[in-house]
């Protein structure tokens, strides 16, 4: 469990606590999602959507923190240049 995809909240539609809905954008497509579990989300926020329902906000600072932590492990510089992930092998 469970398939949940991050999308950007582009527009609030209904702000009723139980019937709350908003338009959420995923890689250039948009869909109306149910927002009763994340009523505090703002336009521009990213939310994680599961079964048509937003279950949490995505925290950009925490996302960046993980990526920064990984940077300290050493990444692309050490990668052997001949092993290009785009290469057809």
């Amino acid at each position: 469990m469970c398939l949940a995809i991050p999308g950007k909240l582009t527009q609030w539609i209904n702000r009723d606590p139980l019937f709350a809905t908003a338009e959420v954008e995923f890689a250039s497509i948009r869909r109306v999602c149910h927002m009763a579990c994340v009523p505090e989300a703002l336009v521009g926020d990213y939310v994680l959507v599961h079964a048509g329902v937003a279950i949490t906000r995505v925290d950009p600072a925490e996302a960046q923190r993980l990526l920064d932590d990984l940077q300290s492990l050493g990444t692309a510089d050490e990668w052997p240049p001949e092993e290009d992930p785009h290469e057809i092998r």
Binding site: M1, A4, A27, A36, G52, T56, L67, P85
Partner: protein, 372 residues
């Protein structure tokens, strides 16, 4: 896609793989609970990449797999009932019950509608006022809030023709049950990231402390999985049995309070039967007495026909991590996604399906047997 592509970056993944290999002094055994994580580990070859450093055993993280036979049989029976529509997630349609699946019933004319969300079932109920609409509510705590929203909306809208067949299950009791097995060899857990967005991870403190196992909240993309594994082996190497969060962009310690409030209003915790694992204390959810008129088993009664499990299916052993799918004698032969003996081979999250898909079907063995 933002917050997806960065966490599928092959170079970040490779650096984590190297780090994990460098960190371990011995091979550790980790269990990931969530089927989505099982699939991620196999789909990207992570399990094999780390094989020397970490043995990954797969837990019962597939709510579809553990949905009781009785629930599936009842769903089918209701779908065959005149004037009733059963709305179900796509995941459940091909899971075999005692006498076929929901998809089989649909082929024979039963009213089964696939939905992407419990709220779609509300829509179906509104548009078909003369039909009874039953939503087959499966899933962990990730999905239970969505169902709670649906039933609360049904009450507000005074929908007389909407009910739930509740089969929501709780992850933590399953983890505890596995740790209690005498032959348990789990060194550490990767906790299900999306379940934790709702529940938070505070509930794992007691488990970690009591059983002396680290628990790391982990996401689903390759980088997230590897980061979680790295954290878990680091804790094991330093002999610390803590709960850590490696999915902090989506999970906080207290989880989603709004979602839990919606859940607490409608559900109570019960002991329930997990297909393949047996009765789990506090392992499931049921609608509270004041919401019971929305419960399909009260509205229509239980399944009238006996439950028949396929004896050859070793799904229970697979779900508790005691058997790897390819070790099952039926794997790939008598049991394939086309003709599954049990749920783990047909569920999108089942470990057997993951092995069949990403490890290569045994049919390739015939290919390999052909000489040059």
């Amino acid at each position: 896609m933002k917050y997806v592509d960065e966490f599928r970056d092959p170079r970040r993944a490779q650096s984590l793989v190297r780090e994990i290999h460098g960190r371990v002094s011995r091979r550790w055994t980790l269990m990931e609970v969530c089927g989505g994580q099982t699939h991620g580990l196999l789909r990207y070859g992570i399990a094999e990449e780390l094989a020397d450093a970490v043995e990954l055993i797969h837990g019962p993280g597939c709510p579809v797999c553990v949905t009781s036979l009785a629930a599936i049989d009842l769903a089918i029976e209701l779908a065959c009932r005149a004037g009733t529509i059963v709305a179900s997630f796509g995941d459940m349609l091909r899971v075999p019950g005692s006498r076929g699946s929901l998809a089989d019933a649909r082929s024979a004319g039963a009213a089964v509608r696939m939905v992407y969300s419990p709220l779609d079932a509300i829509e179906i109920a509104r548009r078909n006022p003369t039909e009874q609409v039953v939503f087959f509510a499966v899933g962990f705590e990730t999905t239970a809030p969505a169902t709670a929203v649906a039933v609360q909306q049904a009450k507000e809208l005074d929908l007389q023709n909407f009910s739930l067949l509740v089969s929501h299950v709780r992850v933590l009791p399953a983890m505890e049950s596995l740790l209690q097995q005498p032959d348990a060899r789990i060194d550490g857990f990767l906790a299900a990231g999306h379940v934790c967005t709702i529940t938070g991870y505070e509930p794992y403190d007691k488990l970690a402390d009591q059983y002396r196992v680290p628990v790391v909240v982990t996401g689903f993309e390759p980088v997230d999985l590897l980061a979680g594994i790295l954290e878990c082996v680091s804790l094991l190497e330093s002999r610390s049995f803590e709960v850590k969060n490696c999915y902090s962009r989506s999970v906080c310690r207290d989880g989603n309070q709004a979602a839990r409030k919606l859940m607490d209003e409608v559900y109570e915790i019960i002991d329930c039967d997990w297909r393949g694992l047996g009765m789990l204390l506090q392992g499931g959810l049921r609608l509270r007495p004041e919401w019971r008129h929305f419960d399909a088993t009260f509205r229509f009664g239980g399944c009238s026909l006996p439950v028949i499990e396929t004896p050859e299916c070793q799904g229970g052993l697979v779900l508790s991590g005691r058997l790897k799918p390819h070790e099952c004698p039926s794997f790939g032969g008598a049991c394939t996604p086309d003709r599954p003996l049990g749920a783990p081979m047909v569920s999108s999250e089942g470990a057997c399906a993951a092995y069949y898909r990403y490890r290569g079907a045994p049919i390739d063995a015939t290919l390999n047997a052909v000489s040059d």
